[in-house]
Each structure stands twice: as structure tokens, then as C-alpha cells.
Symmetry: C2
Subunit: 428 residues, 2 copies
């Protein structure tokens, strides 16, 4: 029996790599003062019908429960976030800076970078419509990617504006439905064949040349605010990571203002993250009872994981973290079974002090114990005939120290503190 | 629109409380040398039919996908773990000490302590059949509960043995089916009416008195190994947290040897965790191709959360963690808008150094900025007319220090290091 198609088993090493991604997301978002939330994995299908583009509804894992509710495994978080904000908005000071790290499900054909079950970071700012908020959201997205060891050689943030596009197309006399349809065509401009694009644009009496001219130089009356966002990012010293690129319109129907994506420049030339403003969404979902501006971005674990693997500096950081996440600090080598009861008490004392400890459950040859110790631990404590004295062996340097067992807790706590202070000093 | 019945929205404060539970689980399991894994949220329904008691199959959220696979949201992790171990057992040294923290789903009527979606810790030891391994698993369960601030006044581990019960009943001439049926009755002994229990036992020619006599003093030929486990726990200094209590048989059909539960002694007199040995499960699920002993326990977040809330010392630890998890270290008060670009650059520098920072996106009155700072941060940095000098204000002590902005990264890194070393020294 295997996992279902498009679903993943995470064995310990694989899971440590996911945890590294989640902890990095969490750490950077916390630096920006975002707070974490979570929500159900299952929602009423109605929630997605009300808001999402058809694309997502067609990809739902949806079903009827025994109680005949029509429910769906969540394909994304924004509708749930909107539902939660509508319910308890008054309890929180604006702007909300919220993020979440969770699982999502899409019933689509599994392929490179797309699975049926995946993890994603979602970060949102609700209740602030300023260009400064736009810039903050883009900045945190950049810093997340930098924290993984990615540089301006590895990715670029492409900034664009739905509002800008809409303004330009309205000035040309198109109504909202036409604007939506035209943006659907623009969304395919990078991968579509020119003849096909021309053909699709023809009913609107637009040419690919006109579209490309706008993309090359979107006027300030349309992209002025996008330039403000870029300027704010420059003031932070993040200019090298971003550019204005009007090709980006992002698929989801509910975006209103800024849209952006983090585009990988390595082997996998594709978006590793994307988002934008959705200033009308809370109003739509609350039937007009609430009107808060909002914006957010998402970053999935599958494409990101591939990009990290393919970028040597990032892959190295990941590997180091995965290795240290799986060992222990101390392995107790029980060289004399007579002292097993004392070894158990010692394991307990060390663990009570927060030190990670392993040892063999049953009598085992000393050589085999050292084998286990070397594969798992930084240091071995050998408990043998000299009890209550024990010897501490550094398994990398082979250095040995003889000590009374009673001072081991202090000894390891001190070691850890020294290593921590050394580490902090290196960081300075 | 609300969350579905039996499902929870986790707003930031509520989620911080869950994260505190997860991080505590993780920390203690790591101390014992357990490594973390994860698995799909959705499995083939077949996996549960093959192994689980009827109780669980009747409570599945199961459905047909568009591709007509019969799938279920996972109600528990053990069948998945068995599936994974069968697939890659040869890659890992035995014993495996694995844990997982994840979500589970049961379609049952929501009530106190039972929801349709919940989180659980699962910890398992695979590939070791010793009483020493039994004791290790019980010990880590005890230490998880102690880490939350619970004491021997708040819970007790009740140790029992399926093997012991089976041996006694076989010696009385019962076959396996009868043993299963009788243990089903024993499982209800604490809550059931005596007359009803007598009536259920009658077909087996057993009396409640006989059952109670066995529970009072299960002979060494049946519970000798359970006493060995208890002795091992005594050697660790954990005797005060455990007792042998043959009343416990645990519901799941696949348990073979040790069974145990952590029973809350506070207001909610019920099990907060439970588990046992399942030495036949891997053989059953692999159709006899593999035969590794195994054991594990689970601890859900719902009952545990209630117990923590109801136990003052534990509730206090939880509250402290939730409060610190949501603030930032530094709030930038922009007292002179002229210096906003420099404030943005400063925010970036501090965040690059790992310091958590917030600030107002748009021009805001200084008093209001201090209000936001006080509710969020430990310290405010005031950026005003004295730039490049800024003042750092400790928002608890009101102490103020004037500094050049260029030394702030070092200043806050040093503060954090001092606080960390103080903290470590307090811990010693």
C-alpha cells in the first residue's frame, strides 16, 4: 500500500527539510511583526463558490458528508481568512498582519511542481490601503527568499498593477467584463503563441503590439503607485530584488491593485510566490456589511523545495539544518550492565535539563553502542566500572574527559551555553 | 459564514496556545531522541478497513474522488505509520523512535473534549520488544505532561497489560473471540452499571466479583512484565507518576502487550493520552511479509488543552508563552516624517539581524504610535529631529537611552544575548 497519487509520505529526513522551510517562513514573518493563525482543513463548498475563480472550483476535492453538507478540502486560504476577519474584525487593531503555514488540496493531475496535497505560507495585511503596506508585503516576501540563501541572481520580484491595467483598458472604452477577458489573454502572453494571442485579441480590436507597448512603458497615470512601491523598497535597500513588469496579471479574479510574483531565475523559471491586493473581497463575502482593504501572497513548498535543491548555496543551508535536526547531544554507552539503573536515572536528569539523550534499551556490545553513538550523537558518556566516575567522549575530536556523573548536567548545560554564546558572537 | 460544526478557527492568540502545545510536545520528544515524520491527510479507505476496530471505520470522513478512489480523511496515524515502515523499513536502524504532530478527523457528534477535527501527538517505537522500550515510551509520555507544568497531583499513568488479561482468560479456557468480547466488557467497568456488566458477563459464566478480584491483584504470571516496566520507571525517579491498574484495557483491537493511559486527576477525570503495544500489526498489514514489534501512544490537543486551562500552574505557563509569542522586540516611532526613508532602512537592518520590528505604515500621531508600541513591543526606538541620533525607550521601565542609529543592531543583539545568558543561568 502506498500514499495516494499526488500525496507525499514524509520520512524523518524529508520531514526535517519541510520543517526547515516552515521554520524559516515563521522566523522571517515574525521579524516583520506578523502573527500566526490557522483554520479548518475542511470548509463549506459554498465559501469557494462565492469567491474564487472557476479554475479553483474545478479543482476541489469536494464531497457530501454523512450529514449531507457539501464540503471541500481547502484549496487556498484567502476565503477562510476573509470569513474569519468578517467574524471578529472588531477585536483586532488595524492593520492586521497575519500569516499561516498549512496544508492545501487540489484535485489536478500531479506534475513537476504541482501535487494534490501541498503546504503553503500565506501572509496578509488587512485594513490598510497604502502603498507602504504594499511595499511591506513585498519586502517580507523578499526576505523570506533571502533567508533561504537565495540572492538577486536567483530570483526577482516582478511588480505589476491590476488597477493600472484596468485604468488603461477603461480609458480605451472597455467595460469590466471585457477588461477581465483581456487580462485573461495578457496572463498567457509569456507562454502563448503570438498568432493565438493575436487571434484572441482580435474581437477586442486590440493588437499584440499595443499590449506590448503598454507593458514596455506603462504610463505614470496607471503605474504611478507601483513606482511608489518600488521606491519604498529602494529605501529599504531591496531595489536589486525587484523590477516593474506589467506582464504579470496573476490568475485570480479577485485581485484589485498591486499584483506581484517572485520569479525564479534558476533552472526552474517559474513563480515561487505570488500575490496581490484584494480590496473588494471582504465586501463581497460579507454582502457589503464590511469594507476593509486587504492583500496577501502565497508561497507553496513544492516549487520552493525544488528551487532550493537546485541552488547550491541554498541546498547547503538546507542540508546542514536537516543533519543537525536529527541527532542527539549525548549517547549513553552502558559498558557495564550492573549500572543500567544508574544510567536510566542519569538519562532522566540530563533530559530534565533539556539535553537530548539516547541509549540502548537492551544489553549491547560496547563497539556496537559506539557505532550507534557516532551515527546519532555529538558526545558519548561511557558508564562502566569506574562509576560514579564516567568518561565523556567528543565523537568528532575523540577528546575524552573523566568526570563524576553528578556534574554532567552542569557540564552539558555549560557546553551548550558556550556554544550558543560563540554562535551569537559569530553572528554579530 | 462559520467554520463547519466540530471544526475550529484559530485566531492568533488561540493559535499561539496550540503552537505552545506542539512546541512542548516536539521539545520533549526530541530530548528522548525521537525524530519527527509526517504523512498524507488523506488515505485509501482500505488502509483503515484492514486494521482498525469498527469504532473508527464508522466515524470516517470518507468519500469517492472524481477519479473514483475511495478515500478517507485520516482518523489516526498508526495504519499510515505501519504502511510507511513496511515500505522503507530496511533504510533505518532499529529501534525506530518516531513521532508526529498532525491533524485528524472523526465524523462524530461534537461534545466536550471531542471535535471532528483535532490535533494529536503520536509517538512510536518500532523494532524493539523489550520491557525497557515499554518503559521509555511511558517515560516520554510522563515528561511531556510534566513539561506543561502538570505534577503527580494532576495526572497518573495507569499501566496494564492486554497480554496479562489474555493469559488469565485463556487459562480459564476462553478462546480468542471470547477474550475479545470479555475485554470489551472490562473496558466499560468504570462507567457501566454493575447490573448491566453482570448481565453482559453472564453468557461467559464470569462474575463481576471474579473480574474485580483479578483487577485487585493480577498474578505475577500475568502482570510480571508490567511490574518490570514499573520498576524501570522507578529507576528513573518517575514512580510517583505511575501505578499498575488492570482496569485499563484500551479500546483498539490491535493492542497486544502493555496498554496504558495518562489519566487526569483534576476536574476532567479522563484520559489525556493512551497507547500500547501492537506487535502483530505490521505483520497483519504486510500480509505476513514483515514482523516487527511496535508500540505507541497518542495525545490529542482538545482534552489536553482543557486540562491545562483547568490547572492553575499549567495555565500560567501557557498564558506567558502566548503573550510573548505575539509581540515584537522593537517598535519604531516615526516622530518626524522627513526621516521615514531612514526608518525603513533601519527596520530592514534590524530585521536582517533577526530582530522583530514593527512600525506604522502611514503618518500617525506620536501618542498613537506609543499606544501601538506599548501594546506590541518591549522597546520603542524614537526617530525624530535628532537623527542620526535616536532614543531607545524601555516600555516597561520607561528608561530611555540616546544612541546613534548605527549602533542599534549591536545594541539589540547584545541585549538579547544578555537576556539569553541570564535565562540560561537561571535555568542551571
Amino acid at each position: 500500500m502506498k500514499a495516494l497519487k499526488g500525496f507525499r509520505d514524509f520520512f524523518p529526513g524529508e520531514w526535517a527539510a519541510r520543517q526547515y522551510i516552515f521554520e524559516t517562513w515563521r522566523e522571517v514573518l515574525r521579524r516583520y511583526g506578523f502573527v500566526e493563525y490557522e483554520a479548518p482543513m475542511l470548509e463549506s463548498t459554498e465559501l469557494y463558490k462565492k469567491k474564487s475563480g472557476d479554475e479553483i472550483v474545478g479543482q476541489l476535492f469536494n464531497f457530501q458528508t454523512r450529514g449531507e453538507e457539501d464540503v471541500s478540502l481547502r484549496p487556498e486560504l484567502t476565503p477562510t481568512l476573509a470569513r474569519m476577519v468578517i467574524a471578529r474584525e472588531a477585536d483586532y487593531k488595524k492593520p492586521l498582519k497575519w500569516f499561516s503555514i498549512g496544508r492545501f488540496f487540489r484535485y489536478e493531475r500531479p506534475q513537476e511542481g504541482r501535487l494534490r496535497e501541498f503546504y503553503a505560507l500565506n501572509a496578509d495585511i488587512i485594513g490598510d490601503d497604502s502603498a507602504a503596506a504594499d511595499a511591506e508585503l513585498v519586502a517580507v516576501c523578499i526576505d523570506v527568499l533571502r533567508e533561504f540563501g537565495l540572492t538577486e541572481e536567483d530570483f526577482v520580484i516582478r511588480l505589476s498593477s491590476r488597477d493600472g491595467w484596468r485604468g488603461w483598458l477603461r480609458d480605451k472604452g472597455f467595460d469590466d467584463d471585457q477588461v477581465g477577458a483581456i487580462l485573461g489573454i495578457v496572463d498567457k502572453i509569456e507562454r502563448g503563441k503570438p498568432e493565438k494571442l493575436e487571434e484572441d485579441l482580435a474581437p477586442f480590436k486590440l493588437t499584440l503590439e499595443e499590449i506590448r507597448a503598454f507593458i514596455d512603458q506603462p504610463g505614470d497615470q496607471y503605474f504611478g503607485r507601483t513606482r511608489q512601491v518600488l521606491q519604498n523598497l529602494e529605501q529599504r535597500g531591496l531595489a536589486d530584488y525587484c523590477k516593474i513588469d506589467a506582464t504579470v496579471v496573476r490568475g485570480l479574479a479577485y485581485y484589485t491593485g498591486l499584483v506581484f510574483e517572485a520569479f525564479s531565475l534558476g533552472k526552474a523559471r517559474r513563480a515561487v510566490a505570488g500575490g496581490g491586493r484584494f480590496d473588494d473581497l471582504l465586501s463581497i463575502l460579507s454582502d457589503g456589511k464590511m469594507n476593509l482593504p486587504g492583500m496577501g501572497f502565497g508561497m507553496g513548498d513544492v516549487v520552493l523545495g525544488n528551487v532550493l535543491e537546485q541552488t547550491p548555496a541554498a541546498a547547503e543551508l538546507l542540508r546542514e539544518d536537516v543533519a543537525t535536526a536529527q541527532g542527539v547531544e549525548v549517547y549513553l554507552v552502558i559498558a557495564d550492565e550492573k549500572h543500567r539503573p544508574e544510567a536510566l536515572a542519569l538519562a532522566q536528569n540530563l533530559r530534565d535539563a533539556g539535553i537530548t539523550v539516547d541509549y540502548p534499551f537492551t544489553p549491547t556490545k560496547v563497539g556496537k553502542q559506539f557505532g550507534a553513538a557516532s551515527s546519532l550523537a555529538e558526545r558519548a558518556v561511557v558508564i562502566g566500572g569506574e562509576w560514579p566516575r564516567v568518561s565523556v567522549k567528543d565523537l568528532r575530536t575523540r577528546e575524552e574527559t573523566e568526570l563524576d556523573h553528578g556534574v554532567l548536567v552542569d557540564y552539558f548545560a555549560k557546553l551548550r551555553e558556550d556554544e550558543l554564546v560563540d554562535f551569537l558572537e559569530d553572528e554579530d
